[in-house]
């Protein structure tokens, strides 16, 4: 990564790039945005097709508890990746497991799990607050471009590669299993496997995006670009591609804009506001076009 940071620095010094590119953390954040954006946008279309918006939101919020557990178990406060990964994965898989075995409506079940995770997180954070600077929590909740390290980029790159390879082989089957599970089963597809695989992908991308977007807002980035693309596209292929493009643009612009305008806004909030403005424009366009 050093070569890229050096290149960006030289570009900034020569005046080809904005001054922001002279900072190494900004280059890290933009690379992270390029990794995370397409995935969040692409997976978001499946979240919408499967009506799992509330679920993805819940996994994002569960990250808070995962981080608290990680710190309590002795992980470094700035990067409690094992606690975060393990808790979010167990949370998502357990929720899906219970869903398949109960008559409780799914949104109610997600609400219960979300409340338990948040309550657990709130309780644990009291203990965590004694160990770390409480302001670090703001970074976890709303994202911070200052905290992204080379190790984070490595984790992010590996996660993204795994998800992209997985999606290339399973996208159609995951979609069919959600649209018509009976047809999928008759075709010999293991619909439970594809459901669990999708849940694991959502969890992985959520964990990967927590640092840049923040636990509270990561679910929104799975949703808003997809919701925008749904208004503008006529086929599933263009839906996925436009959603990925919008999510990537939101991540890039949302990361750059506060630095350029010298605004004290967390990257997560800025990214979501950019994504929301795309949604607003698309909605107005649809209303005007209909008239």
């Amino acid at each position: 990564m050093d070569w890229l940071r050096l290149l960006a620095n030289q570009g900034a010094e020569a005046g080809w790039l904005s001054e922001s590119f002279a900072y190494g953390f900004m280059v890290n954040a933009l690379v992270a945005a390029l990794f995370v954006g397409p995935l969040l946008g692409g997976l978001g279309t499946l979240v919408i097709a499967k009506r799992l918006a509330f679920f993805s939101e819940a996994v994002g919020h569960a990250a808070l508890t995962g981080i608290a557990i990680g710190v309590l178990l002795g992980e470094p406060p700035e990067n409690p990746i094992i606690g975060l990964f393990c808790f979010c994965m167990i949370f998502a898989l357990l929720l899906h497991f219970v869903r398949n075995r109960t008559a409780v409506p799914y949104d109610t079940l997600v609400g219960v799990f979300l409340a338990v995770a948040l309550a657990g997180g709130a309780a644990l954070l009291m203990y965590v607050a004694r160990k770390i600077n409480i302001h670090m929590l703001e970074n976890v909740l709303f994202g911070s471009i200052l905290t992204i390290t080379d190790f984070d980029l490595l984790v992010l790159g590996v996660s993204c590669l795994l998800i992209i390879v997985g999606l290339m082989f399973t996208f159609n089957r995951i979609l069919l299993a959600s649209i018509s599970p009976d047809i999928a089963k008759v075709r010999g597809y293991n619909t439970h496997f594809y459901d669990y695989l999708f849940v694991m992908m959502i969890t992985l991308v959520t964990i990967a995006a927590v640092k840049i977007v923040g636990a509270v807002l990561v679910g929104a980035l799975l949703l808003i670009p997809g919701a925008t693309a749904r208004l503008m596209t006529r086929s599933m292929g263009s839906f996925v591609l436009l959603s990925s493009l919008l999510a990537t643009l939101s991540c890039l612009i949302g990361t750059l804009l506060p630095m350029e305008l010298k605004l004290p806004i967390p990257s997560g909030a800025s990214i979501i506001l950019v994504a929301a403005s795309f949604f607003l424009i698309a909605t107005v366009y649809r209303i005007v076009a209909r008239k």
Partner: protein, 243 residues
């Protein structure tokens, strides 16, 4: 050549409601079998049991003549959200190919999908959203999906629901062609005159298997009346059992 299917003491119940009770039958290969009966008589449950989509007691065996073959299935109803940009072509490609819809540049896949839609008279609707189609048009697309792999066994749950006359005639001629190719076809159908035209083996199901035989033997006016009388008594009996 399509398979034959043997059912042995197939029973199914949902909590207190007995849906199927001790059904034993053999459905011959290369024939069109129509399952008829009143609403709530267990026709769809029987199809789902044969397909392994619902747990049941008893045994269902599909005897494939040359190793396990392909099954085509048209469900009774599929719900497509109107706002989801899933086109008719997307839906067929979804069933046909593993290449993800956002990365499918294979022209052969598209040509094959369009040919399949043309077979059902739906090629001009290829770029329509699934949720925009009428019920009858959706059934046609589902039928096109079922025929994709040239299946040896075709299981159709009320495939002409919502179809116009032209669609029904199209469907009937396709079924006749498939029977000529020795495919085994199993259809749930309500329309007695349409079933007579299909020249099928009819199985009347209402919780149990009431009667099996050629359409002209089973669908006689006095027998049809008996079937519906049985429906009333069956319902009353079940209500008494539950009470």
């Amino acid at each position: 050549m399509g398979p034959s299917i043997s059912l042995s003491h197939v029973s199914l119940r949902y909590e207190n409601n007995i849906v199927l009770q001790d059904i034993s039958a053999t459905l011959g290969s290369g024939e069109c079998h129509v399952i008829m009966g009143p609403n709530g008589g267990g026709k769809t449950s029987l199809l789902r049991s044969i397909l392994g989509l619902t747990p049941f007691k008893g045994e269902v065996n599909i005897h494939w003549p040359k190793g396990k073959g392909k099954i085509g299935y048209v469900p009774q109803k599929a719900t497509f959200e109107p706002s989801l940009p899933l086109t008719v072509l997307d839906f067929i490609l979804l069933n046909q190919s593993r290449s993800p819809l956002f990365f499918n540049f294979n022209k052969k896949h598209k040509v094959k999908a369009l040919q399949q839609l043309a077979r059902l008279g739906m090629e001009d609707r290829a770029m329509f959203r699934m949720g925009q189609l009428s019920g009858g048009e959706q059934q046609r697309v589902l039928f096109a999906q079922a025929l994709l792999d040239d299946p040896d066994l075709l299981i159709l749950d009320e495939p002409t629901n919502g179809m116009d006359d032209q669609g029904v005639r199209y469907f009937e001629s396709l079924i006749a062609d498939l029977v000529k190719e020795n495919k085994t076809i199993l259809v749930v159908h309500h329309d007695i005159s349409a079933v007579r035209r299909l020249q099928a083996v009819v199985h009347v199901v209402n919780g149990t298997l009431l009667e099996s035989g050629l359409a002209e033997d089973v669908l006689k006016p006095n027998k049809i009346e008996r079937l519906f009388n049985h429906y009333r008594s069956h319902s009353n009996h079940q209500n008494e059992e539950v009470a």
